[in-house]
């Protein structure tokens, strides 16, 4: 699967926030065999230079980075943040977040489309964090996005895939567009489910970072993503409402 012409080494994208320590983060990235790690931008103090240390650590992992515009609520904020991220991280990839509702951190699809258009015209390769809205998806593609990243559930909630119907519809409508479930995944089974639905990748952060053993959980997610992808390739059976005997009826003994 190509994301803007680039093949990632795995279908698991991993966030870098909220880990108990840099060592545990590094261990989780390795255990996940993450294909990309997401990063952000924050104010830097001249004295502490925390960002410089973080950047050295991330570079040492040798995994491509996907900067985000987390925390942005307007088109202007998101576009400016993306421009700053491109310079700092030396990549034109951007995970575009424009939050519209603070309780659910639901994306503002209208602002998202506008920001995506501005950034695409400026040469960015935009990964939009979106709802599973079909019309919004179409608009984002028209705005130049070549990847879509619908939420599974609100960020950090761990609720899994809240709207299976919507996610399935999105996959069916856009069979050739790389789709990533971003946000809301809490368990490896949720990640496997996303891959079984035919999604091309998943983006996980809190579920790994806040696990009791983040490194072990990162490994569990790696297996789940592999299992889900293998299952999808193996063409799962159709569901049905009534039972069908799996053991042949022919030749059954009459013992009553």
């Amino acid at each position: 699967m190509l994301f803007y012409g680039t093949e990632l080494s795995s279908r698991l994208m991993l966030g870098t926030a909220q880990y108990p320590s840099p060592d545990i983060l590094a261990g989780a990235v390795r255990a996940a065999r993450a294909g990309v790690v997401t990063v952000s931008l924050r104010r830097e103090s001249a004295g502490l230079r925390a960002g410089q240390a973080f950047w050295s650590m991330i570079r040492g992992l040798g995994v491509p980075v996907l900067p985000n515009t987390a925390g942005c609520h307007t088109v202007k904020e998101a576009v400016t943040t993306a421009q700053m991220a491109r310079e700092i991280f030396d990549t034109d990839w951007i995970k575009l977040e424009v939050i519209g509702e603070s309780d659910t951190l639901q994306p503002d699809m209208f602002a998202l489309v506008e920001a995506a258009r501005i950034l695409t015209e400026d040469g960015f390769k935009v990964f939009p964090y979106m709802t599973e809205d079909l019309v919004g998806a179409e608009r984002l593609l028209q705005a130049g996005c070549q990847v879509l990243m619908p939420w599974g559930a609100p960020i950090g909630s761990g609720r899994g895939l809240n709207n299976l119907f919507g996610l399935r519809a999105l996959r069916a409508h856009f069979p050739d567009v790389p789709l990533v479930v971003d946000a809301g995944i809490g368990l490896p089974s949720h990640a496997a489910q996303a891959m079984e639905l035919g999604y091309d990748a998943v983006l996980i952060n809190t579920a790994v970072a806040k696990a009791g053993d983040p490194v072990a959980m990162a490994g569990a997610f790696r297996l789940a993503v592999e299992a889900g992808l293998a299952a999808r390739s193996a063409d799962p059976m159709e569901e049905r409402d009534m039972a069908v005997p799996s053991t042949p009826v022919l030749g059954r003994a009459v013992l009553a």
Partner: protein, 65 residues
């Protein structure tokens, strides 16, 4: 001249953004800058003169999801 750096008031002697970064101790750091809400690429910092009260944002790589 008094300016706001990451929302904190700072008195600086330098006039350009590049010189202010050096004066404040950011020399050599991997940072991105914005002035009054607009991105200022590294290549333009030397020519950008700050006005009294300018709002300067200095950002660096950080953990993110």
């Amino acid at each position: 001249m008094r300016i706001l750096v990451n929302e904190e008031p700072r008195d600086v002697a330098a006039a350009t953004l590049a010189a202010v970064l050096d004066e404040l101790g950011y020399g050599g750091a991997r940072v991105a800058t914005a002035v009054n809400g607009d991105f200022v690429p590294a290549a333009r910092r030397g020519a950008l003169h700050l006005d009294e009260g300018a709002r300067v944002e200095i950002l660096a790589p950080m953990q993110g999801g």
